[in-house]
């Protein structure tokens, strides 16, 4: 599969997605097509390697979820992004499609407070279980005192 072929496939199947660039493809999909797009990318484009998943806090404009997957055999990389509405922190989990997304989404929940619907084991991974708040959000004050060591 060539990159041009992959681009036409994305355009045919997901008309509402914006595609920018082709190495890697940066695809912005609506949040309700997030899981379906991941399924398509894995099974049709053959991107079986889940590279990473994270989030970006755009303050008033809401959160953005970013994930990168690769087809290592044919050199196709897809960076998939979706925007959550302001104040919303729920997103479909990619774990049913990519098992590698499990810990990445736990970290994303830990740092940004994104609730991944469909995640099998959504709890904190890096910070302690008693941590209050999600520190990589822009609204988290830098000098938030943390008892008892602050």
């Amino acid at each position: 599969m060539t990159r041009a072929h992959a681009a036409t496939l994305i355009g045919e199947r997901f008309g509402s997605a914006q595609v920018q660039g082709d190495a890697p493809f940066v695809v912005i999909v609506p949040v309700d097509e997030w899981l379906a797009f991941a399924d398509f990318v894995k099974n049709v484009l053959g991107c079986r390697f889940f590279s990473f998943s994270t989030a970006v806090d755009w303050k008033e404009q809401g959160l953005e979820i970013v994930a990168r997957v690769d087809n290592l055999d044919e050199g196709i990389s897809v960076v998939m992004k979706t925007r959550l509405a302001p104040g919303v922190s729920e997103c479909a989990s990619l774990v049913p499609v990519y098992r590698g997304a499990n810990w990445m989404e736990r970290e994303c929940f830990d740092m940004f407070g994104v609730r991944f619907v469909g995640h099998p084991d959504l709890r904190r991974i890096l910070l302690g279980d008693d941590w209050v708040g999600h520190p990589l959000l822009k609204s988290y004050a830098v000098d938030t005192p943390y008892p008892p060591y602050r």
Partner: protein, 212 residues
């Protein structure tokens, strides 16, 4: 699929006023002293000292004990970050702390000294305290490097303890990022000096002024 219930959302306390924060930090830094030495040791030495002529015994015994203590300070190997590399260099043959009677020992239960070498994160602090509690009295602590002294370059991070003296009492602060072995060695010599001036009641000398 059922999601496990996440951690309940409690609004984080937000300290936007820097004056509040400074006051909070000042209060946090006032640690009660005297949590290092057993009450039994203090009462026995006090008893001997108040006996007629007993002060001769206690001063002579103290001098001997202090000499013994300062000549066999065993640091527990507790490396946390890049400072641990410098600490290992100090322990190795070129700088050779064994000539000062220090044997890096891999068990807190046989050790007298903890060199906190590196950034203490909030997640690590309970483990640090636990290891420190396992050390027998009398025990000492050296805070090595800017991170352990005050949080250093990571002071404004959300996950860093802003100075290990908020977790355990510290005797010597060694500045540097990281401190070279000479610097740590100087700190260890200062500590030996402190130990040799150990008081009759087991109260320790004043710590060296905090340098950041």
């Amino acid at each position: 699929m059922e999601i496990k219930s996440p951690i309940p959302v409690i609004p984080a306390p937000i300290w936007r006023d820097i004056k509040d924060l400074q006051e909070y930090e000042r209060l946090r830094q006032q640690r009660p002293e005297g949590d290092k030495h057993s009450a039994l040791f203090e009462s026995v030495t006090d008893g001997i000292h108040s006996f007629p002529g007993g002060f001769v015994v206690t001063t002579a015994a103290d001098a001997f004990l202090n000499w013994a203590r300062k000549s066999s300070v065993w640091p527990v190997t507790f490396g946390l970050a890049c400072c641990a590399i410098e600490m290992m260099a100090t322990f190795a043959s070129r700088f050779d702390v064994e000539r000062l009677g220090m044997v890096p020992w891999a068990s807190p239960r046989h050790s007298d000294l903890m060199i906190v070498s590196g950034t203490v994160t909030i997640k690590m602090a309970p483990m640090l305290l636990r290891i420190y509690d396992q050390m027998p009295d009398p025990k000492w602590a050296v805070s090595m490097g800017s991170c352990a002294n005050s949080g250093g370059p990571f002071r404004h991070g959300y996950h860093v303890v802003k100075g290990v003296d908020r977790v355990i009492p510290v005797d010597v602060y060694v500045p540097g990022c990281p401190p070279p072995p000479e610097s740590l060695l100087n700190g260890l010599l200062l500590l030996q000096d402190q130990i040799s001036h150990f008081r009759r009641t087991g109260k320790r000398a004043e710590p060296t002024p905090k340098v950041d």
